[in-house]
């Protein structure tokens, strides 16, 4: 296996070998080109608005023909997303969007296929499909809006809710231990795993760009505020006064330093796990998103505000391996080269026939 760094094209169109199969936009596009005529119906103040706006702002940069972009979603507040984009779209059923997108992406290499999902949609009912789409490395970009709650069904706890969460279905506090979506997806052999925050347009745009540039399955967790049922879940990461001290911005090739004054850093502790130390310490780690071995990326995914006082955002992992769809299509091309286009009637007749006159 060869692992290459994805070539980033400064300022211009996002590209990779799979995206090159998608027809380019005939001319420059603007955010307006991607807004549909549907009235947006999320609650006022919902984090989904900010994500929509950032995605609409980013799509022109993707530089592909609008009609070759498809957004497929499951069910949930977040999954209404495709209705608001002037691309092809499907609002499917709960949890199954990665499966549907797999069929579309593998049969149509000329499309840029995106999946929009929620924490319940992708990690509860659709957990299986998420893991398998990622391990297969199907060329789809999965944006998971994590508000740590079931929004659409009015506020039950989700698989990412913290233990003890009081909700309508858990008046005495929730009992189940939550998933860490980045750990989970890294464990599922995902080739691209990233995290961002709904309100940080610049950061989210950079993560979307990296996901688009990745030739294969990309999983992006987006912390999203549900101001109705789980308001303020990510406030410390958003508040101007606190955010720099609790957020580690991952950058490939850069030391893992953070803090308002850059004074804190990540190093390896005696037991091999990661811990927070001072920037000047010996052994401060450098982030390697392209490392084939996911150990350090996984260790980074274990850092959380609750356990370490810091949450990483940015690209955890980005390695280039052949995608499922290009391999499947290559098998078809090889079969055609070797055997020529299939001849139906000789297939049907087979090897053993007899004739009666």
């Amino acid at each position: 296996m060869t692992v290459t760094t994805n070539g980033k094209v400064g300022g211009g169109r996002v590209t990779n070998r799979l995206l090159d199969l998608v027809p380019a936009a005939p001319g420059p596009q603007s955010r307006k080109d991607f807004a549909s005529d549907q009235e947006v119906r999320w609650c006022p103040g919902c984090g989904d608005y900010a994500i929509l706006s950032t995605v609409q702002g980013f799509l022109p940069e993707l530089g592909v023909a609008r009609e070759n972009i498809v957004f497929i979603s499951g069910i949930g507040c977040s999954s209404r997303f495709p209705y608001y984009l002037q691309t092809y779209g499907m609002h499917s059923i709960h949890g199954r969007a990665p499966a549907i997108a797999t069929g579309l992406a593998t049969s149509r290499p000329d499309l840029s296929v995106w999946v929009i999902t929620g924490d319940g949609d992708s990690l509860s009912i659709g957990g299986n499909h998420l893991l398998h789409a990622l391990r297969r490395n199907v060329n789809i970009k999965i944006l998971m809006f994590n508000n740590r709650i079931y929004g659409l069904t009015k506020g039950q706890y989700s698989p990412t809710s913290e233990i003890g969460k009081i909700t309508k279905s858990t008046p005495h506090g929730s009992l189940d231990r939550p998933y860490n979506p980045t750990s989970l997806t890294l464990g599922a052999e995902a080739t691209f795993v990233a995290r961002s925050v709904d309100s940080d347009r610049q950061h989210l745009t950079s993560v979307l760009r990296a996901a688009a540039e990745h030739p294969g399955a990309a999983f992006v967790e987006i912390f999203q505020n549900c101001n109705i049922f789980n308001d303020g879940a990510f406030d410390t990461m958003k508040d101007r006064d606190t955010r720099d001290d609790v957020t580690l911005r991952l950058q490939h090739g850069q030391p893992l330093a953070f803090g308002a004054d850059g004074s804190k850093a990540i190093r390896r502790g005696a037991d091999g796990s990661l811990e927070v130390g001072a920037a000047g310490d010996a052994g401060v780690l450098v982030h390697d998103a392209h490392a084939v071995d996911p150990s350090q990326q996984f260790a980074l995914s274990r850092l959380t505000g609750d356990t370490h006082g810091v949450t990483p955002i940015g690209v955890f992992r980005d390695v280039d391996v052949p995608s499922y769809d290009e391999e499947l299509n290559a098998q078809i091309d090889r079969a055609k080269q070797r055997q020529g286009d299939g001849n139906l009637m000789s297939l049907v007749a087979g090897k053993e026939t007899w004739t009666i006159s």
Binding site: G89, H91, R96, A99, T353
Partner: protein
Amino acid sequence: MSEQVREQARERETRRLDRVVVRFAGDSGDGMQLTGEQFTSETATFGNDLSTLPDFPAEIRAPAGSPAGVSGFQLHFSDHDILTPGDAPDVLVAMNPAALKAYLKDLPPGADLIVNTDAFTGGNLKKAGYTADPLTDGTVDKFRVHKVPLTSMTINAVNAADGVAGAVNKKEAERAKNMFALGLMSWLYHRPTTGTEEFLRQKFAKRPEIAEANVAAFRAGFNYGETTESFSVTYEVAPARMKAGTYRRISGNLALSYGLVAAGELTGLPVFLGSYPITPASDILHELSKHKQFGVRTFQAEDEIAGIGAALGASFGGSLGVTTTSGPGVALKSETIGLAVSLELPLVIVDIQRGGPSTGLPTKTEQSDLMQAMFGRNGEAPVPIIAPRSPSDCFDAAIEAARIATKYRTPVFILSDGYLANGSEPWLLPTRDQLPEIPIQLTTEPNHDDDFWPYLRDPQTLARPWAVPGTKGLEHRIGGLEKADGSGTISYDANNHDQMVRLRQAKIDGIAADIPPLEVDDASGSARVLVLGWGSTYGPIAAAVRRVRAKGLQVAQAHLRHLNPFPANTGEVLRSYDRVLVPEMNLGQLRTLVRAEFLVDAIGYNQVRGLPFKAAELAGVLEDVINQ
């Protein structure tokens, strides 16, 4: 051949038969399926009409020597056209006591019973559940028993063969005993043998010594027949007079696979199969995965939900989406089928029915998913249903399903079953120009001024336009939420929903005008009883009808290929008979549907024994109903 042998051969009587049913039975490790397949191949080459019925255990390696681990293969062949694999064997080849135990009850008195005496050891008898040796305690007195030390004679033959002795070990030599049995049966029924020798040499091309061991065993079995005195008669079944043309032998699952490849070519759409392995449907996934040169994409998904999801996603992108499964898988796919109904996208859903409920009888046949296909979804979610009637008919059924799915933008069910899937028959090969063209009209232009309305229907078919991603200017969103009639935007309007539910139903109902009327076989025109069937019961019902008519009784037969919607004349046909009998391998699912739909007081004849109906038994039932 020595003078003496020749003498015997001349003395031996050769009896002409018009049809024969043989069954090979042994442990699942004994190679009985291969033996049966090869005997069938010889029989096809000889020119008989034929029909086969394999019967295998659900466990891959059930305890060796136990009745649960018995694998059987039945073949019915004849000098005229036949419709079923036969009710009861005329000859049973039992390779061990368990095979005898499992199948002796099927054997009519006077039938030939060939047993491998080497396998009748104390241990094997015990494993089979015999307390005494059935070969000596009177159990088999009613049959013409041929005791053959098959295993030891095989080993001797292999050891005596040139260049084989020493090259294969004892176990490998012993394994060839199924070919000894095949050789003996080939002799008994005057089958051509060169094909089998060629087959063995090809199959074991990488290990020529194994090939030669098998050929030696095969010849030894044949020669044993010539020399033994156990058989006083041999049998001849003359070639059948069949329609002129080129034939092959085909099983239902293979025919269905080829039908799907053909549907791809006829529609001009790439086939995408999303599937999860399940008996008895997996062979379609296996088969289609071989045919990449036809642009067929196969995707083994993580579960049935993902299988159909991927197929639907591919349909959205302009492929012919297909998913293959059995009843338990259909249960998992239900929600996605509902989505496909709402999205109004083409999709072919293949259900190879097996015994249910739950895991049920995975390797046995049943017709009990009709109601599931018809109604097994939330909401009003009509789906057309097509049921093939014979193994080769699975080819046409697949093409017809693709035609309806693409023309009406709808999921379509094909209800095959384990019997059709694994059974085989000769198939008069169609020519390319006998296959229907299936033109597909993808939408490429706005259809509502400058807009594209994804739910603006064709007034004739009520189908909605199919505009696939990549089509400039037609960007649109579809989903499972109710859509406004025409524009397709989300709509919660009460009247609109009522209208859309009725439109979706009307679209499916309208297909009745686009399918052939129900044909009735009522030669005399004076029958008062109609027997109505669907799917794989065609053969046994038609065979029973022949028997009844041969006795001078009148009966009409009709067989449904389309179960939703029913052909337009179905009610009229049913109402024109005094009595309607509906035999089914379920507890009366079609009967319930025709009663509800046509207010006809149909009578059921129902069995769920995991096996196809027997013609004789159905004939008896028919006579009873006629004479009532």
